[in-house]
Amino acid sequence: MTASLPIEAIHEPLAIPEPIPVREWLPWMVFAGLLMLLGLYFVGAEQGAASLFGGNYVHEFVHDARHLIGFPCH
């Protein structure tokens, strides 16, 4: 039934993809890195005087997620 199909096409349906050139992904990675620093600020310092939102509502809202993912809390 599938005699016309070369056997390699079954076992290796995909060639190993070529690496994406550095200049293609570098801006994405730099941007993601900067965003991560902002995220660190929210997780690490989003409370008390430096708070962007009033009080510690956001901090308390994701309280259980912080604990169970493993971030330091309290």
Partner: protein, 252 residues
């Protein structure tokens, strides 16, 4: 090209976050509840008045947990997708699914397992508020160290692979990772703020559940992302290659 990796990463991240959320709800929440009950009992015994909570426990353990884990999954997934875009075709002869699983394993190792071993997660009522800044710096410090060490060992494995066989290269790089990580863990100060009368089972089960949440997240991320990438590449190669398009579906 990079765009597709980012989109698939965030998509797989949300799906993985959903599974991790179910795991956290079923296996983690009961122990969070017990830890909070311990805290309340202790505060009542010490005569500390019940403070006004801005968010109720019900919201924290359902909507708050859900939003937190899903957003975390999407963020980690996006970053993971970008790392997969970089590593694809650069780590030996791995195809998309192998690449996805390897990067997920390295992600779990450096963002989950290593920080867990040195600074294990704590349930509510464990940890002093006045040491939070220091604990946060140390926690992110060991994550930064683990990520840097992982990258270093990947570079080392690649360098060795150009000179020796892959088994030797990967094992030597892994060994170097274990030794240097152990040294970092010995040098960094330890933290133990568990109250003397805190129930041991609650602490153990909570920490195990937390490790499980991370393991579920990274495993689902690797499997989901690998599947999505494979599917996407197969489709684009089918569109390009006329021979593949003509072939009938394969039954095995």
């Amino acid at each position: 090209m990079t765009r597709g990796y980012l989109v698939r990463g965030m998509l797989a991240g949300v799906l993985a976050g959903l599974l991790a959320l179910i795991f956290a709800k079923v296996f983690g929440e009961p122990w969070v509840g017990r830890a909070i009950a311990f805290e309340s009992t202790r505060n009542a015994a010490a005569g500390v008045p019940e403070g006004h909570a801005p968010v109720s426990r019900t919201v924290q353990s359902t909507l708050g947990l859900g939003v937190g884990v899903l957003v975390f999954g999407a963020v980690i997934g996006g970053l993971y997708g970008l790392v997969c875009a970089i590593s694809q075709g650069r780590l030996g002869s791995l195809r998309p699914r192998g690449n996805a699983m390897l990067v997920a394993a390295l992600g779990f190792l450096s963002l989950g397992l290593v920080p867990f071993l040195k600074y294990p997660p704590n349930p509510p009522s464990v940890g002093h508020a006045d040491t939070l800044d220091r604990r946060t710096v140390l926690y992110f410090g060991i994550i930064a160290a683990a990520v840097a060490l992982t990258l270093g060992c990947v570079v080392l494995a690649r360098w060795l692979a150009a000179r020796h066989d892959s088994w030797t290269s990967v094992l030597v790089a892994l060994g170097a990772f274990v030794v240097v990580t152990a040294l970092v863990m010995i040098v960094l100060p330890g933290i133990n703020e568990v109250p003397g009368n805190f129930p041991a089972v609650t602490l153990f089960r909570f920490r195990l559940a937390s490790l499980g949440v991370n393991l579920v997240l990274w495993t689902a991320l690797g499997l989901g992302f690998g599947w999505l990438t494979q599917r996407s590449l197969t489709r684009s190669s089918t569109r390009r290659g006329p021979t593949a398009e003509a072939s009938p579906p394969v039954r095995r």
